[in-house]
Subunit: 314 residues, 2 copies
C-alpha cells in the first residue's frame, strides 16, 4: 500500500505536463532556443577560436551555452537545444549536448531536445533510450537525457509509441510536429483530405488520441505538438482538435509571428502553450553591439518573458 | 558473380545515382542494413563485454560492424547504418558511426546514413553538413560523411533543399520517406486527398519534382525515395509517379516482403531500386548456431544478393 501511495504522490510531481505547468507559472510559458552557430558567436569569443579545430569551436559553444542557460534560468520555463547545431561537430558536439542537457536540469530548467526524430519499431525505441531516456554507464556516468524530444509523426502512431513509453515511464514528454512555420510547410501539411480536414489536422487528431495515454493533473498530456505561430486561424482550429496538447510554438520574433498569433495558441487557463524564441534572444547582442553580450541575452530573455506575460494578461 | 564494368567515365561516376548504378551492376542492387543491438550480438562477443560500459559495447559493435562490412563488400552495392543504434551510446556511438562510414567507403561500399532527419532552414543545412557533407577539422581529421541520408519530407520542399544542395555539390544522395512498411504507416500516408491521390502519392509527386534538379547519366536522380516492400500495387503506382527516383526498399526478409513485392519496385533496366535487409542478414547466425557467426553473415548477404538477382532475371 505504501508503495502504491508513494508512486501516486511521486507521479503527481513527475508528469511532464505538470512539471512544465509549474515552471511556466513560476516564470513564464516561454522557452529559449539554443541554436549555436559559429559565425554568429560574440566577436570576443569567436576571435579567440580556430573554426577549423572542432574542440575549440565546442569549447566556445560551451561558454556561450552556459551563459544562455543562466539567462534562461532567470526568465524562462525551459530551453530547447537544436540538435543539428551540435551534431554538426560529430561526437564532440553530441557530448556537449548531453552535458548541457544535464547542466540545464541542474539550473532548474526543463529541457527540449529539438532533434525531430522519427523512426519505427526498435529504431524508435533506440531513439527513445538515447535521446530521451536516463542513462547510466560505468564509463560515461549518469545522464538525465532530455526532458522532452521533438518528433515527426509522418510514420504513424506505432512510430511514436516507443517514445511515448519512455516518456510515460520517466516523467518526460514529446512534441510532435503538426504545423510548421516555414514557407514550404503548406505543401504537405495543408493539403485537403476527401473528408474535409487538412493533413495537419489529421495528424493533430492522431496526436490528440495518442496523448490520452497519459494526462497530468494540470489536464495536459505528455504528448504535445509543434504548432507554428504564423497563422492564428489555424492555431485556433488546432487548439480545438488538440485540447490537451501543450503547443510548442516557434516563430515568435525572428520568424515573424506576433502577439495575436501567439494568443491563439493558449487556453483560458493561460497555459497550453510554450512560446519559443531562438535567434531573437541568443543573438540579441548583434543589434546592440555596445552591450555586454551575456547581458544582452539576459535582457532579451527577460523581454520575451514580459512580452508573453503581457499578451496573456491583455 | 556478375561483374560488368561499364563504359562510364570518372566524371559520370561522381553523380550519386551513377555511382549506385555502377555498384549495383558490379554486385547486386542490394543493401545490408547495420542495426547493431547488444542483446543480439554473437554470444562469443557478448560474453566478453560489460553492457554497462559504453566503451566496451562500442568496441564490440566495431568488431561486429567490420565483419558485416566485409560481407557486404563481397556481395552488396551498399550498406545502411541505422543511426539510432549508434546514437544510443551518445558520443562514443556517434564517433564509431563516423569511423565506420569512412571504413565502408575504403572497402568500396556506398553508404546510407539511415537517420531520417528533417528540419527547416539553417537547421536543415546543419544536418546536411554534419550527416552528409565531407568534413575536415585539424583535430578530428577528414571524414567523408555518408554518401546518402534518409530524410523526412513532411516539412515540405524547403526543408529538403539544404540537404539537396550538399548532395548535388558533393556527389551524394538522399532518400526521402514516402511509404513505410510499418502497420501504422497507413494512418497518415494512406489518407485520401480531395483531389483523389493519397498523402504519400502527394509526397511522391513533390519528391519527383524536387529530384529533377540533378539527374545522373543513368537517368536517376540524387533524390531517391524510401518505399516499403509490402504492398506491390502501391509500389507500381509510386514507380509511375517517381520514374527517376531510386527506391530504397526495406521490408524484404524479416519484415515480410516477398519476390513480387520487390519486383514491382524495379524498372525495366533492372535498376531503380535497392533492396535492403538488416536483421535477416546481420543476425543470420541466430538461426544457424553451429556456423561461425561471421561466415553466417557472409552467407546470408550472398543469399540476399542471389535472391534479388534471380528475381530480376525471372
Amino acid at each position: 500500500m505504501l508503495k502504491i501511495f508513494s508512486f501516486r504522490s511521486l507521479a503527481i510531481t513527475t508528469h511532464f505536463a505538470d512539471r512544465l505547468f509549474l515552471a511556466s507559472q513560476n516564470k513564464a510559458p516561454v522557452c529559449v532556443g539554443i541554436d549555436p552557430v559559429f559565425e554568429k558567436m560574440p566577436a570576443k569569443l569567436r576571435d579567440q577560436t580556430d573554426p577549423n579545430c572542432a574542440a575549440e569551436v565546442i569549447a566556445l559553444f560551451e561558454e556561450f551555452t552556459i551563459n544562455v542557460l543562466q539567462a534562461a534560468a532567470n526568465h524562462a520555463a525551459c530551453v530547447k537545444f537544436q540538435s543539428a547545431c551540435f551534431e554538426r561537430y560529430h561526437h564532440l558536439g553530441v557530448d556537449l549536448l548531453q552535458r548541457m542537457l544535464k547542466l540545464a536540469n541542474e539550473m532548474g530548467l526543463i529541457t527540449i531536445n529539438d532533434a525531430k526524430r522519427g523512426d519505427i519499431g526498435i529504431s524508435a525505441a533506440h531513439y527513445g533510450a538515447g535521446c530521451l531516456g536516463r542513462t547510466h554507464y560505468s564509463d560515461l556516468g549518469t545522464h538525465p537525457g532530455a526532458d522532452s524530444l521533438t518528433c515527426n509523426a509522418y510514420l504513424g502512431e506505432d512510430s511514436l509509441q516507443p517514445l511515448l513509453d519512455v516518456a510515460a515511464k520517466e516523467g518526460k514528454g514529446l512534441f510532435a510536429l503538426v504545423r510548421t512555420s516555414n514557407p514550404g510547410g503548406d505543401t504537405i501539411q495543408n493539403l485537403v483530405l476527401a473528408e474535409g480536414h487538412t493533413v495537419c489536422q489529421a495528424v493533430a487528431t492522431m496526436i490528440a488520441e495518442l496523448g490520452e495515454q497519459s494526462i497530468g493533473d494540470c489536464g495536459y498530456s505528455h504528448l504535445g505538438a509543434v504548432v507554428g505561430a504564423t497563422q492564428p486561424d489555424q492555431a485556433v482550429n488546432l487548439r480545438v482538435l488538440m485540447p490537451r496538447q501543450i503547443f510548442l510554438v516557434p516563430g515568435f520574433g525572428a520568424q515573424g509571428g506576433g502577439p495575436e498569433d501567439v494568443k491563439a495558441c493558449f487556453n483560458d487557463d493561460h497555459f497550453g502553450a510554450i512560446i519559443t524564441a531562438s535567434r531573437s534572444v541568443i543573438y540579441a547582442y548583434q543589434t546592440d553591439p555596445n552591450k555586454n553580450w551575456a547581458q544582452a541575452i539576459d535582457d532579451a530573455a527577460e523581454d520575451l518573458s514580459q512580452q508573453i506575460q503581457s499578451i496573456l494578461k491583455g
